[in-house]
Amino acid sequence: MCVGLSARVVRVSEGSALVDASGARREVSAQLVADLEPGDYVMVHAGAAIAKITEDDTKQADDLMEEFLA
């Protein structure tokens, strides 16, 4: 229901953030995520950063394996 795009925060200013997804850049709202900083990775949906991304999907899969699927 909600396509998300992971992107890197380049710049933050007054409630908005410039994000970069492999060279595609766009201003998005930074209102929904507290304390965004340049260098953070965020999930972007419909023009707003909706969450910080704290690790990559590979690491996450490995962790899940270890905990639940070993």
Binding site: M1, A21, G23, A24
Partner: protein
Amino acid sequence: MDLRGKTVTIAHGAGGKQTAELIAQVFKAHFSNPYFTADDAAVLPAPEGRIAMTTDGFIVSPRFFRGGNIGKLSICGTVNDLSCMGAEPLYLTCAFVIEEGFPFEQLEKIVSSMEMTAKEAGVRIVAGDTKVAGKGQVDGVFITTTGVGRIMDNVQTSGSFARPGDSVLVTGDIGRHGCCILLERDEYGIEAEVSSDCAPLWNSVKAVLGKVPEVHVIRDATRGGVGTVLYEIAQESDTGVLLEREFIPVDPAVRGVTDMLGLDPMYLACEGTLVMVVAQEKTQEVLRILQTQKYTHNCAVIGHITESEKGRVVMRTAIGTQTYLPQPGNELLPRIC
């Protein structure tokens, strides 16, 4: 000649003195060659053997974009269509429909890049036509080009010639023109360094066919992109196509833009990228030749033709599963879901 501030008026299309002036100042200045005369039709030596002939109309908004303009596009489109049939582009005609009030300076730029592109492709512009339409009746300028080419000996390409086992190649990374135009229209506030791939590909094709005349299919992946062309080939040849998703070259910035908008670069137009279907044993040779050519060094084998799944395009994913490439269809709209 100073064209600054001058605009095209209805009088320029009326056939009188001002039409002659427009032709002299803009078209003749650039398209000059022995065949381009004031007579009603160009008189040309007939080439030997088989000829290929094609026509295409060009409307693009914006008219000037990163990597080209409507003029360059109008030459590349027709040159590439001829090239796909293994035909050396010889002669081209062009018909302009120009909106009243269109700046001469822009027209001059467009015509000048047509000249340069035609020169690069080795094709001569031998006849032209100009009509002026009232303000609002057309969007700036529309160009139609028609081309004639001589088909190389021993060459026969067709969308129906793909055979099971053949390799499927693209001559460059895909979807760049479509992505570039999307960005230039600036409707979605996205910025990225993406240039159109718009380029005349005859020299690349000639180099390939000179060594490997038995290429089965060549098709340019314009409107509808590579995905659409592959479905056409699968259906016309009554075969399947199996692609390896990870082998398909996509410029990272194009990937970023399409991911942002929920689009698939497989359906975005290319204007300087061809799909080729080649016998498996000739694949490496064709790749090596393409790699040495100006516009095709990003070429890649992206899959092969199959006996099964007739009429369909199947994609092998990074996790080893197979899935269908959705059939192309509707207007590309960005999506949130």
